[in-house]
């Protein structure tokens, strides 16, 4: 069986099946940019080779391997848990075996662009919690920062080590119909998904090694080590600080990722009840008594971290943690109060924020965003309501979004009134024709929309994991890649220069 399946994929480029034949028979990305079957001439040789190998694979064989992958994900417990009244149901994030491939020059843009963005986010956070120069200089409205629910007055004048607030950043990136990368959102609080980046690669190595053969794909396995290094750089405790990962516990839907990261970093996975603060120092409860802790990678929201300062009813946090942090006795990553920087309204200002602090143009463009709090933005938005996507800035999870081209006349009129009643609460963006990638679906292999979330790790410097979480909207035509709404994921291959071994 194994031997048979190996022979179905040509190990090297050969004649025969063209890129649109075989597996890709009838594949039509329409107006969207396709990540794999690029326009002739423009395609990277290695990407073309991947397409060619896939084209030669029978659909049944792809389905067979896909089934094996699914079973393995269940058995390995790479699942998130959905709780009903009586039962805990384990779901897997559907995994699509056709990889998303990124060429070396494309990655160069993402890598430098993300680094630039993270640098600007950190400078912005330091500024707004200290001098607030950017507000004084009129680059961003004061109300947007100080009135933001994620702004934490507790952070004012506290100097975090290396001025790093955002140690782990996930930047959501899409591509438009011309293949240009655009940032959709910054995730500077507690971005998740990196475990899938690495587990997907392991899965591909087990099930689809013949597809990768002879290609120089950049490794993703050292993420845990890099994260450990970065946190050690900003932690007290000398050369060998003790780090832990703080999780809400096994009932959290991202628990698998917490386990994964703790293992990859080689640190204990702790819950709030395992830690105690005494004399402004953090300790963990061990079989030998209390042992010091110097750095905490927390996967717990600000609100729950310390009942002494934030929600007093939190059972998940550690009483006194803020005191220990402010005393410089422990590092906390990400810092508290980073949510003000990845907010939808602040996002609109990111190109200006980058220019303000770094004197550079943004390497990765924002999706063009009209700020209704500004007269020109408001006018443009109201004039083009039927063509734009309007988003309230204070909401999350897609709540309150109106997609102009899909809204009725009455809905648009209602939207107009709502925006006019509080313009500062709205932004608008054009509809983006997201890129697609070939994906195994019910009736064969079809184009499905994808996005990309690369992960940046920052201690004293920033490093971007060469890869990222490619999420794919499995429903035809859907633009929504979230796992809660029928999204899956793909392995993301970043090629070395040249791409072929």
């Amino acid at each position: 069986m194994q031997q048979q399946s190996q022979s179905t994929v040509q190990p090297v480029a050969s004649g025969g099946a063209g890129p649109h034949a075989g597996l890709f028979e009838g594949y039509d990305p329409g107006k969207s940019f396709c990540e794999l079957l690029r326009p002739a001439g423009a395609s990277d040789q290695a990407i073309a080779l991947v397409a060619e190998r896939l084209a030669a694979m029978p659909l049944d064989e792809l389905r067979r391997r896909s089934k094996v992958a699914e079973t393995e994900l269940f058995n390995l417990g790479i699942t998130f848990t959905v709780y009903s009244e009586k039962d805990a149901i384990d779901r897997i994030l559907p995994f699509d075996l056709i990889p998303r491939v990124i060429s070396a020059p494309e990655w160069e843009t993402i890598d430098t662009g993300v680094q630039q963005r993270v640098a600007a986010l950190n400078l912005f956070l330091h500024d707004i919690y200290h001098n607030r120069q950017i507000i004084k200089d009129g680059v961003i409205p004061e109300s947007l920062v100080l009135g933001n629910p994620n702004y934490r007055p507790e952070m004012v004048d506290f100097a975090v080590p290396a001025k790093t607030y955002v140690h782990v950043c996930g930047t959501d990136i899409v591509r438009d119909d011309e293949g240009q990368f655009l940032v959709l959102e910054d995730n500077a609080r507690s971005p998740s998904g990196v475990s899938y980046v690495i587990e997907n690669r392991h899965m591909m190595a087990r099930i689809f090694s013949d597809l990768m053969q002879g290609l120089r794909v950049r490794p993703v396995e050292n993420y845990g080590m890099r994260l450990h290094e970065a946190l050690a750089e900003v932690s007290p405790g000398g050369n060998n600080p003790r780090l832990v990962l703080l999780s809400p516990g096994i009932y959290n839907s991202a628990y698998f990722e917490h386990v994964f990261l703790a293992r990859e970093m080689g640190v204990p996975l702790v819950e709030g009840r395992d830690l105690v603060v005494e004399d402004d120092r953090v300790w963990m409860r061990t079989t030998a008594g209390l042992a010091p802790v110097h750095g905490i990678y927390r996967r717990l929201n600000d609100d729950f971290l310390d009942p002494e300062v934030f929600r007093p009813d939190s059972q998940l946090g550690v009483r006194g943690l803020m005191r220990a942090w402010r005393a410089g006795n422990v590092a906390i990553a990400n810092a508290i109060g980073t949510g003000v920087a990845d907010d939808k309204a602040v996002y609109a200002y990111m190109p200006r924020i980058i220019r303000y602090y770094l004197g550079q143009d943004a390497i990765l463009q924002n999706v063009q965003t009209n700020i209704c709090g500004e007269p020109e933005g408001l006018k443009y938005t109201l004039d083009n309501l039927d063509k734009l996507v309007c988003k309230p800035v204070g909401e999350s999870g897609g709540y309150g979004i109106v997609i102009g081209p899909r809204a009725s006349k009455a809905e648009l009129e209602e939207l107009r009134a709502t925006i006019l009643s509080d313009p500062a609460n709205y932004i608008s963006q054009p509809m983006i024709q997201l890129s697609v990638a070939p994906t195994l679906v019910e009736d064969g292999v079809g184009p499905r929309h994808v996005d990309l979330r690369p992960f940046a790790v920052t201690g004293e410097k920033t490093w971007v994991l060469p890869g990222g979480l490619t999420r794919v909207a499995l429903r035809k035509g859907s633009l929504i890649v979230n796992s809660s709404q029928g999204g899956g994921s793909k392995d993301t291959w970043v090629l070395e220069e040249g791409g072929l071994a």
Binding site: N75, L76, I250, R285, T287
Partner: protein, 329 residues
């Protein structure tokens, strides 16, 4: 040799919560295996002469009768096997034990090997997937074999892949604590199993039942080797409780617990465990004063009850030292 190999104290500390979960994960796995053995042997009894009375004794040795009769009228093969294998509302069922194993393993995932986790995850699915049809009389023995094998596979994977630091020791302590407890219950089952009318202790039926207990504990052939011509209850009881070579005997388990706790103190510099060691010493002293005959004379059931109480206290001592409940500020 590197420092790390010679001085294990250099290895990282172990979270108290992990130690607690390791003990319980090991205990629940051991419990499933033993419960499967008990159901299997009772199934055998009830097909022979003892009839359905054997099922009542399973409830008695586990002190579950009261709970059971709140929801059941008769104790027979159907109701009791359902209660112990499938019933999710019964906290002492295998369905719940495997859930406990998996919940503990989930907590321990950063610590245990991927292979241990994967096996538990798959085994959990198999056990939770069992239905009424699977525990029908014709298939019951097969299900018991499946349960035993699942636990044995876990044991093998653990032996071959689990890193041997403090965590391993707590795991082993849990395993032997439960094994010690369970052997006393298995011995006790004979006390509760009523002999058919006209059959005296030492009669053919009685001896057969003792052999069935030995088989349930995987000790029949070893017993034959040690006592080729002795079939007295005393010999069987002595073998199950006091034999130093039988891997499920009470004294062997107690020895192991003692050795592992000592290793925590000497090899890992932990200060806890003294109270448990004292209690173990005391228990072993009392056992060494007894012969199988004198145990039977004192009253097998009472004796087993006392041992179970001691084991509970040892567990409490270990908990108090290694995962104390934090003072509420």
């Amino acid at each position: 040799m590197s420092d790390q190999m010679t001085t294990p104290t250099l290895r990282g500390p172990l979270l108290s919560r992990y130690a607690e979960c390791l003990v319980w994960m090991a205990r629940y796995i051991e419990r499933i295996e033993n419960l499967a053995r008990i159901v299997d042997v009772t199934d055998g009894f009830s097909r022979q002469d003892a009839g359905e009375s054997g099922w009542l004794s399973v409830l008695n040795i586990n002190a579950d009768a009261e709970k059971f009769f709140k929801r059941n009228v008769f104790a027979n093969s159907g109701t009791v096997t359902n209660f112990y294998i499938l019933d999710r509302d019964n906290p002492t069922s295998i369905a719940n034990a495997i859930t406990q194993v998996r919940e503990n393993a989930r907590t321990l995932r950063p610590l245990i090997s991927t292979e241990m986790w994967q096996h538990i995850n798959v085994f959990y699915g198999e056990v939770r997937g069992l239905t009424q049809a699977d525990i029908a009389p014709s298939r019951l023995s097969g299900v018991c074999a499946m349960l035993k094998e699942g636990c044995q596979m876990h044991t093998g994977i653990t032996e071959g892949t689990f890193f041997r630091d403090q965590g391993w020791i707590f795991y082993a302590i849990g395993k032997y604590m439960e094994r010690a407890d369970q052997i006393t219950r298995l011995v006790d089952i004979k006390y509760h199993t009523i002999l058919p009318e006209g059959q005296e202790p030492g009669s053919a039926t009685d001896v057969n039942q003792w052999f069935a207990v030995l088989r349930a504990a995987a000790g029949y052939h070893a017993f034959r080797r040690v006592f080729p011509r002795d079939v007295s209850p005393g010999a069987v009881v002595g073998f199950l409780l006091l034999n130093h070579a039988f891997p499920r005997s009470l004294v062997l388990s107690l020895q192991q617990i003692e050795a592992y706790i000592s290793q925590l103190r000497s090899g890992y510099g932990l200060h806890g465990g003294l109270a448990a060691l004292e209690r173990l010493d005391d228990l072993r002293g009392r056992l060494s004063e007894h012969t199988p005959q004198s145990i039977i004379l004192v009253g097998l059931h009472e004796f087993m009850d006392n041992v179970q109480q001691d084991l509970m206290n040892i567990q409490k001592d270990i908990a108090a030292d290694f995962w104390p409940v934090p003072d509420v500020a």
